[in-house]
């Protein structure tokens, strides 16, 4: 276990290193000039050159990346080109909002998905099951921005139950979390259904029925705890999916998280912020996957970590 953990941690660190290298390389070779953005349209060639030299952007790639990496190893993400502050401070200021949204969204996903999955498994093959599976297909096929806008239109514009966007109170959280929760619940519902079906076929369930336990007790006390574990283990993977899609929901709802920070930085070619948010997201993805692998043997003792 110790050796496994050490190896995985080293691997994760190497993956993050690779992500930083590729992102930096892409931003270096792409035809976007951050200096033009900083200097503004009316700047003279001399001003542009002096800014370029000041930021070290006239250096060759190896030197620039080497310096970035050296700072990164000291946990320094650099300074924003356009906002006069440290990238780590900007991200730290935005991260709580994103984490709050992520927590609420995962809670929604689990509640909706697991409930639908159990119902579908118990009514397996009937019309209710088929209807729920169609619903889960619709959920995984729906574009986030469309669902965001429709929920906004119905619940904020027409009914006025929730604010149209922004941050601060519980009411602000409901619609963005519900958007992500509804869409993500499709996967959980399908997983919960097939896991529940597998468990309901197992011998110990037949034994539990045979000794005369009530149906409710067999399902809630014996089947559910076993069926739910593989689904819970997916949360780690889900963090990665969540991090990938945060930009859209945050920009539609005006949610001040790191997705919006990244989106604004991309539009202004503010490379240190883009790098910082990419690395933080990649860190969350790697950590989530590692977590999923680490809990797997506790959930299914047949899995051995090698």
């Amino acid at each position: 276990m110790g050796a496994y953990l050490l190896r995985r941690l080293v691997q994760s660190a190497l993956i993050l290193l690779g992500v930083s290298f590729i992102t930096y390389l892409l931003l270096f070779i792409l035809p976007a000039d951050p200096v033009r953005q900083i200097a503004g349209r009316s700047a003279t060639a001399a001003t542009v050159e002096s800014i370029r030299r000041e930021l070290g952007l006239d250096q060759p790639f190896v030197v620039q990346y080497g310096r970035y990496l050296w700072n990164l190893l000291q946990l320094d993400l650099g300074r924003s080109y356009l906002q006069r502050s440290e990238v780590s401070e900007l991200i730290a200021a935005r991260l709580p909002a994103t984490l709050l949204l992520m927590g609420a969204a995962i809670l929604c996903e689990l509640l909706i998905g697991i409930t639908l999955g159990i119902v579908a498994a118990l009514w397996r093959g009937r019309a209710l099951d088929q209807g729920l599976m169609i619903v889960s297909f619709v959920a995984v096929s729906a574009p986030q921005f469309v669902v965001s806008l429709l929920l906004l239109y119905v619940f904020a514009v027409q009914l006025g139950w929730f604010p149209i966007g922004g941050y601060g109170t519980f009411a602000h959280l409901v619609l963005p979390a519900l958007t992500l929760g509804l869409l993500g619940s499709g996967w959980y519902a399908r997983m919960m259904r097939s896991s529940m079906i597998d468990v309901l076929r197992a011998d110990f369930i037949r034994t539990a029925r045979a000794i005369g336990l009530t149906r409710a007790r067999v399902i809630l006390r014996h089947a559910l705890p076993n069926a739910i574990l593989p689904v819970i283990a997916m949360i780690g993977i889900d963090i990665g999916i969540f991090m990938g899609g945060i930009v859209v929901v945050e920009s539609v709802f005006g949610w001040p998280g790191i997705g919006q920070l990244a989106w604004q930085a991309i539009q202004r070619v503010d490379i240190p912020i883009i790098m910082g948010v990419t690395l933080v997201s990649a860190f969350a993805i790697v950590a989530g996957n590692l977590l999923a692998d680490l809990v797997a043997p506790f959930i299914d003792p047949r899995i051995k970590l090698r």
């Binding site: 590729i22 992102t23 729906a142 899609g245 993805i285 996957n289």
Partner: protein
Amino acid sequence: MTTSVVPDRKPRGVLARLRRRPLAVIGFVLIAIVVAGAVLAPWIAPHDPNQQHFDGLTIEGAPLPPGGEFLLGTDLLGRDLLTRILYGAQTSLIIGVVANGIALVIGTLVGLVAGYFRGWIGTILMRFTDLMMAFPALLLAICLAAIFQPSLWIVAMVIAFVNWVQAARVIYTETTSLSTRDFIAAERTLGAGAGRILFRHILPHLVPTIIVWGTLGISTTVLLEATLSFLGVGVQPPTPSWGNIIFENQTYFQAAPWLVFFPGTAVLLLALAFNLVGDALRDELDPLQRGRD
């Protein structure tokens, strides 16, 4: 072939078996409708996609609601929404097929080579695949698309670049297990070269997997294109795309929700259709999945 002793309850062809799955049939019908709409757009579209009609806006300059001459209403510039949605189907399908095709070719090659040769080539390729898995895909795509001045083909390349990873991993797993089988060892003993073994003997066994992932992947691609275009970094107006129709009219959606609702539904239905067909194909083609539902 003579008649079998036990009457076959299942028809043999995959297509024939898919016909018995109502969800797959719904998926096929939806795909057929979108393809027909895209191909026939120049003939069946009621108007020109870029014409800004004088009578396409109210006196106050607002878009017209659905009904009347403009069946699904008009957009902010007074263009016919139905026409733009029909032409938008072309964009979605072209990107869906091209981007996903490229992603599938890259994924298959990487997975095949890594799975067959293992060793250092395999290690490097699969570590690179792990690395791509750790990328926040949408963020990367947005970043790339925003920095290139995006055209239809650039958007397709960007999507392919972030989307080949899943296919590579699946193909890799299957190739590793196939290449330890006896018939491959026999080929090797007979002196067949790596190219011949890979493409004549391993690849044909992977065709079902490739078909399944190819179908499911189109759904992901269609969603990604719509999302990029919605953010304004995908396909650029005036070329209509379901995503950029919503992008262009977003500021007005509180007053004119149909401008979000119709193109949004189109994206949803096309993605749904490919998911339905892909899922049914997986059930039919993957022996491990059979009998589970």
